[in-house]
């Protein structure tokens, strides 16, 4: 990757990005779609754009997906 590609990646923003509040509001719905193998990003492109760009929301998404795809009902 050359300097200009790195610089472009650094300042890139996606106009579809819905922001943290909107993404978190539907995160549980989005995660269930992903866990079920459905096209969550097609249904919620603005949420997908946000989760790809926002570290904290991306972390919440990864954690929630891990939680629902891992067995936690042991005592």
């Amino acid at each position: 990757m050359n300097e200009h590609e790195i610089l472009e990646r650094f300042v890139r923003t996606d106009p579809r990005d819905v922001g943290c509040d909107e993404a978190i509001a539907v995160l549980h719905v989005y995660v269930d779609l992903v866990a079920a193998g459905q096209a969550a990003a097609d249904r919620y492109p603005g949420v997908a754009a946000h989760l790809a760009a926002c570290g904290p929301c991306g972390d919440d998404f990864a954690g929630l997906l891990a939680a629902v795809t891992t067995q936690h009902d042991e005592t």
Partner: protein, 226 residues
């Protein structure tokens, strides 16, 4: 500066309330039961799950936080406890858009995020306003040995940040991007919501990009018109 395109025209198509799956219906029935014994049993079961998930989550995030050891376990317990309170308080708001457990576990994620942000400042590896511009090449992935223009690019980004961002934008941009302070931690420090910090970074990036295009460091056409 033009109007921000942040929160663009895309509208969320939220699901209408739908029939609950059997497991979600069972959770709701038991957590709302008129029988104290049944309700308490359900609360104990859910609380146990929340604590286990919170522990898993703080372990998963441990590499990205200065919080360690017993303090990390405390964070997990506090997050599980507070998530439980939030879930019970908002039980009537569950609309069946997802499985009940997915909805409930989201509260754990949010509590873990918020608490790790608060605990960051108990022993912060980075002081607010430290301005570690010399680390920016590393953060960008620019190797001075491989990228001859690295120093010029960093100098130009710094010039734009100093000259063209507002004081508020500059402070937040430098803290997050230059100094590497976690966004959740900065939100706690400044008393702002996560979304408010993110919006500042979003708008600052767009402003920097426009300045870099104007000065010939980026091509208007090769970057997706963003």
């Amino acid at each position: 500066m033009g109007a921000s395109r942040y929160h663009g025209p895309v509208q969320l198509a939220r699901s209408a309330p739908r029939e609950l799956d059997d497991e979600s219906a069972s959770w709701l029935r038991r957590l709302s039961s008129a029988s104290l014994a049944e309700r308490q049993a359900a609360e104990r079961e859910l609380h146990g799950r929340l604590i286990r998930i919170a522990r898993s989550e703080v372990r998963r995030r441990s590499a990205g936080t200065p919080v360690t050891g017993p303090e990390l376990d405390d964070v997990a317990h506090q997050a599980g406890d507070d998530a439980m309170l939030a879930i019970l308080a908002k039980l009537a708001e569950f609309r069946g858009e997802s499985r009940f457990t997915t909805w409930a576990y989201k509260f754990v994620m949010l509590e873990v995020s918020g608490k790790l942000g608060r605990h960051y400042w108990r022993n912060p590896p980075v002081v607010l306003d430290a301005e570690q511009w010399d680390r920016l090449p590393d953060r960008l992935g620019l190797d001075p040995h491989q990228h001859a223009e690295a120093a010029c690019i960093v100098a130009e980004v710094r010039r734009v940040v100093d000259a063209e961002l507002t004081a508020h934008q500059r402070r937040i941009f430098v803290a997050i991007v230059v100094d590497g302070i976690p966004l959740n931690a900065l939100a706690v420090k400044l008393g702002l919501q996560r979304n408010a910090i993110y919006k500042v970074i979003f708008d600052a990036r767009r402003k920097i990009r426009r300045a870099l295009i104007t000065r010939g460091y980026l091509d208007e056409l090769d970057v997706g018109q963003r």
